[in-house]
Symmetry: C2
Subunit: 490 residues, 2 copies
């Protein structure tokens, strides 16, 4: 079942029919997290977005190889913090930890949060620190082709030279001349070494205080941040692959630089389709540490941030993100999240109701059109918002049948169950949360013990014996002691 | 609370008082899994053993850095399979997968199984493939010091040369002359390149078919298996660190070679204390794929192997392993596992009973001696078997108090709870499993709905209303329909 899928390609700024390079194989690369701090809300959106892409393509029969990297080498920061800062190293020294110990802690936390959000695991999860050789080899190729130069042990990509024969700006639409006049006056670390202000580092000589460092033909140092994705996507997916995804904030300069690096090294465009999810705001504001609205996923799940009125489960967060198209901005607020929680529960409750529907000989409802609409929506640039809208039509149908207002026959009932299985669970990746905890078992047992006491008081031994026998069948023992009745499970 | 701990040092074959090199810091390195197949029973023992070491040392106040590697580069196999075989690559080609995709799949599975066994995560988990540069640098040092030689792009460690000024065999007690006469007649790959049959590869030139390869000063190839642990332990713990652990099967040649490599590169003994857990047999036999008794952890947890009469939970496996001293062999059999399951449940049930004990003004029991004995046992070479024996004395006490045969006052009660918390949960790392599943909630709800119907039939509306109201308090709704009563949770 290979349906035509259309996705918006940032490179052409158009919705295009997806045609894999080597069908049915599909290579997908998504920029992964920098593991120097707790995963936050900003991580949820891209990984959920490309998770539904991965789920849908797999459902359609494509054989996907999904590569998502771990940035564990501190990278050159953007101009806010000053180029040359190694963020991981900075944190590690504050905590007096080995950088890889910090990276491991936050990598584990990232994995745990992604599991909670039911984000499927990528097939390959390469670490930047584990691919220094590959990055050095790529720099050597770029140098060979004349698109880079060495200064004082550091190597920079020569954007101006590259732009003579290529278009630096083809992805982002930026114009090189404007870029160069814009940065001119700033005094950034490494700027004095660069030929042009827009040039970017491929290799940086490490300052003496820098912990993370490797030998290279140019100096003991570390790779520039843009390089790892180029080197690792090439290694695991080839010089040209199908889809590269990431947040809109990475489009420039990161992805623009990736294209330049790959063309510089292999003289090939690395990616056929570039896909970018839009950003998240919190109460209308950009999320940022300095703004006090930086909320980690842990804080969402526990409700422990001052801006949160309650805890929000991972499935509520997922549902909320899926309610918007991935190319729209999304604003997080307590009211919006509460609405999402309600919607999620309504959908899941209808699934429970669905299990117990009675079928009739005839059907007053028709499910196939909803299924068709869901495929159409997903194939139209992953319109998860529309899929959810269609699923809520199914919710209405389920409730109407349950209330006896509509009838369903066996064939339609099968389609209805298939609709939920395919779109709620397989494609949107929602799941039922174990809301029935051990606390519930305890509370229910207390009620049953009380009911047994009432039956005994009424000398209704048939009932009290029934309770004991039924509980025994479930391996529950009840024991009457001088301080009342207790229970245990074998 | 820093108690004297004694551990058996394989290097001296003696129980020695543990004295860290830089107290309170302790560096611990344990050989991790080769991620080319499903984690099996053989993985459970070393990681549980060094988990209780890690837990106990942390409990005592040591500041531990626990490094456990992931072997994701296929390594030279022992003589059974023929030297030069790259096991990961072999598997990858069979499955037509990229080797790192296979490695990722089994690494994830390993992590999941360790989580289920409640094995704490190491602080750093370096991958062999991510430390090729470090391994190349180490080879260069060994070459510089004259303990290695290059032949046809491969580099071998010169054991005979090393043994002239050092003792190859100091850890394993093997004698070089005997080793050399023993291997002589076999024809192994690479043997013709070696000066001596006992020499081992530091770097192997990759055959054309070999997928995993990196450039080096000698050839495109891959590091010898013994090297990764030497390079990575040095990087994260220093040239000499406190404890190196692993299974007895790794003592020779792997750990013997590690010592030689470190001395060869840094002229320092790498490890102060070598610790080795003993092996596992299954029904008295060595575990092996060819013997048909190779059981994965998944198969234990699901009971799906033909040798298993039932499924055994992760905590049953953990309890079973802890019942033996780590230096004893352990034989897995259905009867032994069932006994372990019973013991584990008995211990956990007593913990539930403990919560509800009534205290008296006086106490007929004394808990401090048991606590002291538990510390003594753990400090005596991690005698977990003895700790469990002592904990079962506490179980007897708990049950006697519950039955009114003994009395306990507040102070002793606090000690009793502390004993469980410290030794059952913190040190031995056992945990209560959620045995009360959603199925239980469903069954209990069915019983309650029946009891409500009975009450209604008896016109006992006080009881039927009570049921409805109590359930509402727990957010359970019951709804009477024409086809009977259903329930849902808000």
């Amino acid at each position: 079942m290979m349906k035509d899928v259309f996705i918006t390609n940032s490179l052409t700024r158009k919705k295009e029919k997806f045609e894999p390079i080597n069908p049915p194989l599909v290579g997908l690369y998504v920029c992964g997290p920098t593991v120097y701090s707790e995963p936050h809300l900003g991580h949820a959106r891209p990984y959920i977005t490309f998770d539904i892409l991965s789920r849908y393509f797999t459902h359609l029969g494509y054989k996907l190889r999904y590569v998502r990297n771990i940035t564990d080498v501190g990278h050159l920061e953007d101009e806010d913090a000053g180029e040359g800062e190694d963020r991981i190293t900075k944190k590690a020294r504050l905590e007096k930890l080995e950088p890889m110990e910090v990276a491991k802690m936050y990598t584990d936390s990232f994995h745990d949060k992604m599991d909670q959000l039911n984000v499927g695991r990528p097939h390959i999860e390469p670490r930047a620190s584990g691919h220094i050789i590959e990055q050095i080899l790529m720099i050597e190729k770029i140098l060979e082709h004349g698109f880079a130069y060495e200064v004082n042990g550091s190597v920079y990509f020569d954007v101006v030279k590259y732009n003579e024969s290529n278009n630096y700006g083809e992805l982002s639409g930026r114009v090189l001349d404007e870029l160069m006049s814009g940065v001119g006056s700033r005094e950034l670390e490494g700027q004095d070494e660069k030929k042009n202000s827009v040039d970017f580092a491929l290799w940086k000589k490490a300052a003496p205080v820098h912990i993370m460092r490797w030998p290279s033909p140019w100096s003991e140092g570390f790779p520039g941040w843009h390089l790892e994705c180029s080197a690792m996507s090439q290694k695991y997916l080839g010089e040209t692959f199908d889809i590269h995804g990431g947040g809109m904030d990475l489009l420039f300069p990161h992805h623009e630089c990736e294209i330049a690096q790959s063309v510089g090294a292999y003289n090939k465009k690395p990616v056929k389709y570039w896909m970018h999810n839009n950003m998240i705001t919190i109460n209308g504001q950009k999320m940022g540490r300095s703004l006090g609205n930086f909320i980690t996923l842990d804080e969402f799940f526990s409700g422990s941030h001052k801006l949160l009125e309650q805890a929000y489960g991972a499935m509520t967060i997922r549902f909320f993100i899926l309610q918007a198209h991935y190319r729209s901005t999304v604003d997080f607020s307590n009211s919006a999240l509460k609405a999402a929680e309600k919607g999620y529960k309504k959908l899941m409750n209808s699934y429970d109701v669905l299990q117990n529907l009675k079928t009739s000989d005839e059907s007053t409802v028709s499910i196939q059109p909803i299924i068709d609409d869901c495929y159409k929506a997903m194939s139209d640039d992953l319109n998860s918002a529309m899929v959810l809208a269609k699923l809520f039509e199914a919710v209405t149908i389920v409730n109407s049948i349950n209330d006896g207002k509509e009838k369903i026959n066996e064939a339609e009932y099968e389609l209805l169950k298939q609709l939920y299985q395919t779109f709620v669970f397989d494609v949107l990746g929602l799941k039922e949360v174990e809301s029935q905890s051990n606390d519930d078992v305890s509370s229910l047992m207390q009620l049953i013990i009380e009911l047994r006491a009432i039956a005994k008081d009424n000398k209704d031994y048939a009932t009290s014996d029934k309770i004991r026998d039924e509980l025994n069948k479930m391996s529950y023992q009840i024991k009457d002691g001088k301080d009342g009745t207790s229970w245990s499970k074998a």
